[in-house]
């Protein structure tokens, strides 16, 4: 198939998650992505395991983020290696890195220097907190960025204290933003024929995902979010019934909806706490508690059979086992298999479908320097 980024060459100096997740998105849409890694050890994520899972010498995590890429091993402190990398840069369309401020300047691969080698380069930079100010030198690590950004005050209940999102959400959103910036820059380059610098940071990205609620905060006299004290409440700014409720055999999610409809459907008397239109905000916790009492009497599927035909927005609450065993998971064809030597790795595909096609790629992550010979030949390095 004709993928939109066919023919583009991306050099990825990035490590860990944010930058490499952008490289993965670009690769899946057709770009050729070459990771530039230090010899032998390679990028640090190769040794960063979750649940201590490895596939041969590299972590499963590394495999997840770096499939569909090539690897070129080069020691940027070695003059000959650096010369080869510079030749490669001259042929590239995009390069990305997430070194701390100053590192690329020392090596001589900062934006200004690279422009001299390739005046049409798209140069993407990921930082933790931007390149200036008191946090510029702080480690750009997901949990720490979540913690300073206020994000931990939005989930869970008030009495639990700060609750971080249980995924590397700052990294992942930042990778998404880097992808957008690089693609927009490529479009600009078609018109100008000139290099473009794209910069993103984990902190700006994790603030960006709070843009709705921060806009409320900015225009509401600086009131901090008020999380509910009821377990399962879904959003500190949304009124009842928004949340997940225990049922006789599991849980039920109820999104926004008409409280009169919902309470009559589940035969729950909320008249004492739902007195006027404002009650759904004002008496949120009381209403959540009241609904919860009724909802524990029947099973989730019984409730779904009552609520769905009435057009009430609700869903079962599934675990990974239940979600991936559901026919809906099979239907979207989200799973793909990589073959890494003798190992078979099951993972997910790109979330974007282009020209009606799902984007699959069975190419597993490369070993360090796996493509050095081919690349040396091809680019006459």
């Amino acid at each position: 198939m004709n993928k939109p980024l066919d023919g583009l060459l991306v050099l990825e100096f990035c490590q860990f998650l944010a930058g490499p997740s952008a490289g993965l998105k670009l690769a899946d849409m057709g770009a050729r992505v070459i990771k530039i890694e230090r010899p032998v050890k390679g990028e640090a994520c190769r040794q960063l395991a979750i649940k201590n899972l490895f596939v041969e010498e590299d972590s499963l995590l590394f495999h997840t983020i770096n499939r569909n890429k090539e690897s070129y091993a080069a020691d940027l402190k070695n003059a000959e290696d650096l010369e080869r990398v510079k030749k490669l840069i001259a042929a590239a369309d995009v390069m990305t890195h997430n070194f701390r401020p100053g590192v690329m300047e020392k090596i001589g691969l900062d934006f200004e220097s690279v422009k001299a080698i390739n005046p049409k380069i798209i140069y993407g930079v990921v930082t933790g907190y931007g390149s200036e100010g008191p946090w510029a030198a702080k480690p750009g690590q997901d949990l720490l960025v979540q913690s300073v950004s206020g994000l931990t005050t939005l989930s869970g209940t008030a009495e639990e204290g700060p609750i971080p999102f249980g995924l590397s959400v700052a990294d992942i959103m930042c990778g998404n933003h880097l992808t957008q910036g690089i693609l927009a820059a490529l479009i600009k380059r078609v018109k100008t024929n000139k290099a473009v610098l794209v910069e993103v940071s984990l902190l700006e990205s994790v603030l960006d995902i709070q843009f709705e609620v921060l806009t409320t905060y900015l225009n509401d006299g600086g009131q901090l979010p008020k999380r509910s004290n009821v377990k399962g409440s879904g959003h500190s700014y949304l009124s009842a019934p928004y949340g997940v409720y225990a049922t006789a055999d599991g849980y039920l999610a109820l999104a926004m909806g008409d409280l009169s409809d919902i309470s009559s459907a589940i035969e729950c008397d909320i008249s004492a706490v739902f007195t006027d239109a404002d009650s759904s905000f004002k008496n949120r916790d009381e209403i959540l508690d009241c609904l919860a009492l009724s909802l524990k009497d029947k099973t989730t599927s019984e409730w779904l059979a009552i609520l769905e035909p009435r057009g009430i927005w609700c869903a079962d609450v599934l675990t990974y086992q239940a979600a991936t065993a559901h026919p809906a998971f099979e239907e979207i064809g989200m799973k793909q298999v990589l073959s890494a030597g003798s190992h078979r790795i099951e993972t997910t595909r790109s979330p974007v479908q282009l020209d009606g096609d799902k984007l699959y790629s069975s190419k597993a992550a490369p070993k360090v320097g796996a493509s050095n010979e081919i690349i040396n030949q091809e680019f006459k390095l």
Partner: protein, 389 residues
């Protein structure tokens, strides 16, 4: 010059997922015309959070729809539909997030729009894809979080399912759609070809969890188990988490347990090793660490940990964040103004291009605010209702 200057986006989408994508395209320089039904417009105009009404519409609508124009049109009305078809001829990108089948019935599906405009880039977001058992379910964020296992990652082991307290799947689907549209726009700029980009919130929710789902797939299909206390990632060992201190909280990312034991002068911690043990015994470790950290202030701990290069941070709410120089230096807040003079504060675009932050001073549009100007500029003619049929 902004990267997408000169491109026209016609956006039929509502709520957050699609409109967050067109906001990004607008900030990157595209002109975005939001097509809304007359009378009520985008339902998001009345989707209130914390009951805050700003100049007649919800705060979230203002956040999502700044920097756009509004064209009110009833797509079921032949005159209005004819004008829209004429507008679509000029569009580079057309996008929507209706449920499957709606645009086909209205005659604005990809095939119909492509017949009018062969190099158009067409984007759509569905809740759960175009087929399958969920296809008619409402594509609503909390339901997507609930159906994809996401609620079992946040909070502690005994918390039950804990939703992430933001419409995170909407935003991911919007971000993914923007990527698909931009990739196609690049191809169009180079080769003159149109294209189709499709995203579903279901696929976006799984992509968000690609690390944990991949672990689940390759680890014998064991559901994630959150730690008893201070959980921040079900798949990471101690000390990864947030801990109470004498006067607030402290976030601790990766760090060697024996080293922390010395540094924090915590004897109980010295019994534990790194690696497998930091994962297997994380509840015990977090318990010991959690009690110990309550003995001193956050600042006291930071002054011990930071010089030793331990990855840690204070835990801030927005009031403290906004007062911090680390936040101020970002210049993340901008003031925007609506055509009637009403102004409000919101955030700017999170991407910098050529060293410049991207500010855009235009606030959200009133419903149908730009009808007259757009009709004139594109000489849209309602009498030509046969146009394109």
């Amino acid at each position: 010059m902004l990267p997408l200057e000169g491109y026209l986006v016609v956006d039929f989408s509502q709520f957050l997922s699609g409109p967050s994508a067109s906001l990004r395209l607008a900030d990157l320089g595209a002109r975005v015309i939001k097509v809304e039904r007359p009378g009520n417009g985008d339902i998001c105009r009345t989707l209130y959070t914390s009951n805050l009404v700003m100049n007649g519409v919800s705060s979230v609508f203002h956040a999502i729809n700044r920097n756009k124009e509004s064209f009110a049109a009833d797509l079921k009305d032949p005159d209005d539909a004819a004008m829209i078809r004429q507008l679509l001829v000029k569009a580079d990108i057309v996008m929507h997030n209706f449920r499957p089948g709606v645009m086909e019935r209205l005659g604005f599906d990809y095939a119909s729009v492509k017949a009018l405009n062969p190099t158009v880039i067409y984007g759509e977001i569905s809740g759960y894809g175009l087929d399958g058992p969920f296809k008619d379910k409402p594509g609503q964020d909390l339901l997507l979080q609930s159906l994809t296992g996401l609620t079992w990652l946040t909070g502690n082991a005994d918390s039950g399912p804990v939703p992430m307290g933001l419409s995170i799947i909407d935003m991911l689907a919007g971000a993914h759609l923007a990527q698909g549209l931009l990739a196609c726009l690049y191809r169009k700029a180079v080769k003159g070809e149109g294209g189709l980009a499709q995203v579903s919130m279901l696929e976006s929710a799984y992509d968000f969890q690609f690390e944990t789902i991949t672990t689940f797939f390759n680890d014998g299909g064991v559901n994630p188990e959150r730690s008893q206390k201070s959980n921040a990632n079900a798949y990471l060992g101690a000390p990864y988490g947030i801990y109470k201190t004498a006067d607030g909280y402290l976030a601790l990312a990766m760090g060697s347990i024996p080293f922390l034991a010395k540094l924090l002068e915590c004897e109980g911690l010295a019994a534990f090793k790194d690696g497998k043990e930091a994962f297997d015994k994380r509840d015990e470790i977090k318990d010991v660490l959690g009690s110990h950290l309550q003995s001193r202030s956050t600042q006291a701990w930071l002054s011990v940990l930071e010089p030793a290069d331990i990855w840690c941070a204070d835990v801030l709410d927005w009031n403290r964040l906004f007062e911090h120089d680390g936040f101020k230096v970002l210049k993340m807040v901008q003031s925007v103004q609506m055509a009637d003079g009403y102004s409000y504060d919101t955030l700017r675009c999170s991407i910098r291009i050529d060293g410049e932050r991207i500010f855009a001073s235009k606030g959200s549009p009133k419903l149908g605010e730009d009808n007259d100007a757009i009709i004139k500029e594109f000489t849209l003619n309602e009498q030509a209702y046969e146009f394109g049929k």
